[in-house]
Subunit: 403 residues, 2 copies
């Protein structure tokens, strides 16, 4: 919290424009020992120029060795210590599709799954059922009624949906019903303390009624719920930093976390990096801080597609001149965590960080944007939660501390 | 505490084998400006290969500028913040020789000393009396009886012994009786608060009776006590990390701190690095985590023996192939603190850290193991208490944090 209080105390309500460009899962690993990483193998003349003009470093998302999920990783980039501010998966999922989670509500992430004749899970993701097929199934669940509470539902994507229960006396301390295995039945929603018994009972009743409505489905004939959680009441980003903050992201999860901290979430046409940067250009006068999120670097990493991940980075690089034409005062290019294609999962490895700010940056001697250069960069290795203070400082948006 | 709770929450009960090889006091300084350190001057082809394949960094034992004792330095390496978890010297000394210190007991480290006819200390270490000569003197003190408490004694080495007092109403807030100077008398055991008055009184009575029994000794004719302390109740290492942990150390102090955190302390033949690694090989199937402690690097550093310290490092390097043949998944080579031969004492300088983990490490561009390379390594400079999370991550033993 200390860092946020300092920002709140020191920020000016004027200064340069800041762009935080996050390529999800940017950090990588070489395929062969001694070879380049995804970022190092990508052809990125624009980023390399920015690296030469600016300074590099690497960020630790949560703490050394800790592999973050998307929520904690982004909170850290926004300056919120992810070990102090904990946002549940249910809340992130719901917020990401525009479902509000207010104080006292309980949100969960839902997954459709397939169960066999004995009620045992045979596919935890219902054969990754298509979005077009799954959306009407979510509609069927809307008719469920429970005494004294309201349940709001929204389809997310493929087999995933979000559920929010609203009413008196609800508490989110409930264990996941997803057993994280096949060959076993979904678990009941089990309260982990007395306060959450009522919510658990109601969720179990809802699950029973849902089961009856899904029984005739070929794939999505059951469901699991996880990440039961409530409104985390995060202190608002625009107040902490004194900026008008806009989020330019394609995926609901990232819109969700931006929305939770109080950024404006912008909607625009297209999903390519160039579309996102075009959207930024269209709103340039309306914001002081621009959070741009590129998802596909992480997706290709999780696919194990080394070249594909490098290609996404190249697409971002090609679109960069559009952004530079806007003359941002501060531009940071980084990731929220590493997703090396070789390992196909999020990892704990530090994340490359590039800071460009022509008026104020102390440039280092590094000439290209990549993991090894970032290791040797002028900013050293530092926690992601300190990124925001750096961006604010370079934008001339922070007062002196003390006299 | 946060870090330990996170480890407890995130650890898996499976994954790769981890070796933490600690060369005590590893960090050094050049003799001449611009020259190599002890580690850099040592011929270490095996460590240099591991450095090339792995990644380097440097660790800060407690905090920048803080010189640690052996206890705090090792607690940090095991993931316990040494500013939060304080273990008294008395407890370390007692535990190291197999004396248990339970809740409510008070332990102290004892030193034999020589006093002159006026009762003033002429030698704080009783002429570094030989072990064979000192052990029977400790025996003579066993006959001391005190009302309502039991006193257990054990000889440690040369002029040193450990004492543990057990009984009701004891508290360890007592000042050292060692004045840390010659030409003055030993101090009385002085309680620093009301709760410790009873223990202080009893220790003073014990010291008086001991004085009578030692009066006719030529060298060890008096004693001092220091490091009064009680059981620190450390959360157990095997539970925090979900590993079977074995300690392979020759010196009681390091066995003691390993035992305090709940590691199994192994006993084996020989004291050379090669003996220690052979012992590890013999127990390879029985543990997931191996703490190996090499003492002589520190001893030679404290002797001011630059070349001797380098030779110990070389002996470890020569023994390394024996360890590598076991195919550890993760190997860290580091020290607990620096003991530059030029300064002959523990210092605060950051400590070289080498991390080798073929399946998961992000290699950096450094090719040899030494202070300058570690400064430029991929891991940067980080607190020693974060080492364990890194080792756990690289062994595939940690779940993701948050969604």
């Amino acid at each position: 919290m200390a860092n946020l209080e300092l920002m709140k105390e020191l920020h000016r309500d004027k200064g340069g424009k800041i762009v935080l460009l996050v390529m999800d899962g940017l950090g990588g690993l070489p395929v062969e020992p001694g070879g380049p990483t995804e970022l190092e193998s990508a052809h990125t003349p624009n980023m390399d120029r920015l690296a030469a003009e600016g300074t590099l470093g690497q960020i630790t998302p949560v703490a050394p060795g800790i592999t973050p999920g998307s929520g904690p990783a982004h909170l850290a980039l926004f300056g919120y210590d992810p070990l102090l501010f904990v946002v549940g998966r249910g809340v992130l999922e719901a917020t990401g599709v525009g479902l509000h989670v207010n104080k006292g509500d309980v949100a969960a992430r839902g997954n459709f799954c397939t169960v066999d004749g004995h009620g045992l899970i045979s596919d935890r993701r219902a054969g990754r059922i298509a979005t077009a097929e799954a959306a009407p199934i979510v509609e069927k669940l809307r008719s469920i009624e429970l005494p004294g509470v309201e349940v709001e539902l929204r389809h997310v994507k493929e087999y995933r949906f979000a559920v929010v229960m609203r009413g008196e006396g609800l508490d989110p301390a409930i264990e996941d019903t997803d057993p994280q295995a096949v060959g076993v039945a979904p678990l009941p929603a089990r309260a982990t303390d007395a306060a959450s018994k009522r919510a658990a009972t109601l969720f179990n009743e809802w699950i029973t009624q849902a089961g009856a409505r899904l029984a005739d489905q070929p794939k999505a004939n059951a469901l699991t719920l996880r990440g039961f959680s409530s409104d985390p009441a995060l202190p608002p980003f625009p107040e902490i930093y004194g900026v008008r903050a806009g989020c330019f992201a394609v995926y609901p999860m990232y819109q969700g976390v931006a929305s939770l901290v109080g950024m404006d979430v912008l909607h625009f046409e297209g999903e390519a990096p160039s579309d996102e940067l075009a959207a930024v250009a269209g709103k340039w006068d309306e914001f002081d801080f621009f959070f741009i999120h590129i998802k596909k670097t992480d997706s290709r990493g999780e696919d194990g597609d080394f070249r594909g991940k490098a290609s996404v980075i190249e697409a971002v690089d090609s679109a960069l001149p559009r952004l530079m034409d806007l003359n941002p005062d501060v531009l940071a290019i980084t990731g929220d965590h590493s997703t090396p294609a070789r390992l196909r999962v999020h990892t704990w490895h530090p994340v490359p960080f590039l800071l460009w700010a022509p008026a104020t940056v102390r440039a280092d001697d590094r000439r290209g944007f990549g993991e090894t250069n970032c290791t040797l960069g002028g900013l050293g290795t530092f926690p992601a939660r300190e990124v925001m203070a750096l961006l604010m400082a370079h934008a001339g948006r922070l007062e002196k501390y003390g006299a």
